[in-house]
C-alpha cells in the first residue's frame, strides 16, 4: 500500500462521498467516513468516523466506532464506542469500552471470540463460539 513511517500492510480509506455496497474484505486497516452496506471483514483494525454510516455486519481485530452501525459487530480484541456512536445490533468483543453518550441497542457478549470465517471467501460459513470469562464470586 502506501509507504510511510507508520504503514504496515494495506490500508483502506472510504471517504465521505463514497458508498460501498457488498462484501468488503480486507487484510489491513480500514477507515470509514462514508457509507458501507453489506459486510465488512478485516484482519486489521476498523476506524469508523463520526459521519460514517454502516449498514453491515462487521468483523475485525479491533475497532473504534464513532458513527452509525446497523448490524452485528464481532471484534476479536478491543472495541471502543465513542460518545457519538449509535449501534443497532449485537456486539461480541473481548474487551469493550463504551464512552458516555454512546448508544448501544442489542445484545452484548464478551470473552474470547472464535470464528471459522475465512476472510478470502465471499460465502463464509460463520461459526462463532464464545468462551465467557471466569466469574469470580466475592465472599462476604
Amino acid at each position: 500500500m502506501f509507504k510511510n513511517d507508520n504503514q504496515n500492510g494495506n490500508e483502506t480509506i472510504i471517504g465521505p462521498s463514497v458508498k460501498v455496497e457488498g462484501d468488503f474484505i480486507s487484510q489491513g486497516n480500514i477507515q470509514v467516513d462514508g457509507s458501507v452496506s453489506g459486510t465488512i471483514n478485516t484482519k486489521g483494525n476498523l476506524h469508523a468516523g463520526e459521519n460514517s454510516h454502516i449498514n453491515a455486519n462487521i468483523e475485525a481485530t479491533s475497532a473504534y466506532i464513532a458513527g452509525y452501525v446497523k448490524g452485528n459487530i464481532t471484534i476479536h480484541d478491543r472495541l471502543e464506542l465513542a460518545p457519538t456512536s449509535q449501534i443497532n445490533g449485537d456486539v461480541f468483543a473481548k474487551i469493550l469500552i463504551v464512552a458516555e453518550g454512546a448508544k448501544l441497542n442489542g445484545r452484548c457478549q464478551m470473552g474470547e471470540v472464535v470464528t471459522n470465517n475465512t476472510p478470502t471467501s465471499t460465502k463464509s460459513h460463520k461459526k462463532t463460539t464464545y468462551n465467557p470469562t471466569e466469574i469470580i464470586e466475592e465472599k462476604s
Binding site: M1, K3, I13, G15, P16, S17, V18, E21
Partner: protein, 254 residues
C-alpha cells in the same frame, strides 16, 4: 548482459546532442555500451524492442521520460527474462525516476551500473499493460474484486495507481500485488457570496484492490492510461503480479 538503448523521438533535436554524446561516453567508461535504437515515425517501440531481443539483448534501457518507460514496459511485459532500465533526460517533471530512485541525466548511469533489480507489478487494462496509473473523471460504476461496488454522490477524480504519486508525497507500492484506487472529490466553489464551502476541501478515498470493472451508465468515459494513451469504458483492470524486472536505485521510494 547485452544492453539495448532506446532513444525517444524528442531527443533527436540539436539541444540534446551534447548530452547524448556525454551519455554514450559515460556508458562506455562504465562498460555498459550497447546497441542504440531511435524511435521514429517508421520505427515503433515494439519493432525496435523485438529486434533487439531477437539479437540477444537482455536489458532494454529507455532514454527519455515517463512515457518512454511506459511504452517499453508495455512491450517488454510478455518477455520473462528481460530487464528494463531508464536514463531520464529532459526538463519536464518526471515521476517514475523519482519513485525508482534514479537521478536525472548522466548520473543515472551509476544506477545502471550498480544493477539493483526489483520485480514490479504491472496493471492490465483490457489486455494492455500499463505501469504508472489510469485517470478518469466522472461518476463511473465501479465493481471491485467481484465482491463490492462503489457509488458516488458527485463526480470524482479517480486514479488507479501502480507506480505513481497519489496524495501529496505518498507513493503507491508497486510490489504489494495490489492496485491502489484513489478517489478524490473536489467540490467546486459556490457562486453564492455567503457560501462557506471551501474550494480546496478534499474528500479522499484510498482502496487497494486486485481487479476493477469500470463502466459508465450514460456516455463512455475516457480513461487516460500512463498519461499518453486513451481508452474508453467499459474497462477491466487487473494487477499483473511481479510482471517486469526493473533496475532501480538505492533511494527508491518503496
Amino acid at each position: 548482459m547485452p544492453y539495448f538503448y532506446l532513444y525517444d523521438t524528442y531527443l533527436q533535436g540539436a539541444a540534446y546532442a551534447p548530452q547524448l554524446i556525454r551519455l554514450e561516453n559515460t556508458l562506455t567508461d562504465l562498460g555498459l555500451q550497447g546497441r542504440v535504437g531511435r524511435l521514429t515515425l517508421l520505427k515503433s517501440v515494439k519493432d525496435l524492442v523485438a529486434n533487439a531481443i531477437r539479437e540477444g539483448a537482455d536489458t532494454i534501457v529507455g532514454v527519455g521520460n515517463d512515457i518512454t518507460f511506459s511504452r517499453i514496459a508495455e512491450v517488454v511485459a510478455p518477455y520473462n527474462k528481460i530487464t528494463i532500465g531508464l536514463i531520464p533526460l529532459g526538463a519536464e517533471q518526471q515521476n517514475i525516476p523519482q519513485i525508482l530512485g534514479i537521478p536525472l541525466g548522466i548520473l543515472a548511469c551509476q544506477v545502471l551500473s550498480s544493477r539493483i533489480i526489483a520485480s514490479l507489478d504491472l496493471g492490465k487494462i483490457n489486455n494492455q499493460y500499463f505501469i504508472q496509473s489510469i485517470s478518469v473523471k466522472g461518476k463511473p460504476n465501479i465493481e471491485c474484486n467481484g465482491n463490492y461496488k462503489l457509488q458516488f454522490s458527485s463526480p470524482q477524480e479517480i486514479k488507479v495507481c501502480n507506480l505513481d504519486f497519489t496524495n501529496n508525497d505518498q507513493v503507491s507500492d508497486p510490489q504489494n500485488n495490489f492496485l491502489e484506487m484513489v478517489i478524490k472529490n473536489t467540490p467546486t466553489k459556490s457562486w453564492l457570496p455567503w457560501s462557506t464551502k471551501k474550494s480546496n476541501d478534499l474528500d479522499l478515498s484510498i482502496i487497494p484492490t486486485k481487479s476493477i470493472r469500470l463502466t459508465s451508465p450514460k456516455e463512455d468515459l475516457s480513461l487516460l492510461v500512463d498519461n499518453h494513451r486513451i481508452i474508453k469504458t467499459p474497462a477491466n483492470i487487473v494487477v499483473a503480479e511481479e510482471k517486469i524486472k526493473v533496475i532501480v536505485g538505492k533511494r527508491r521510494l518503496f
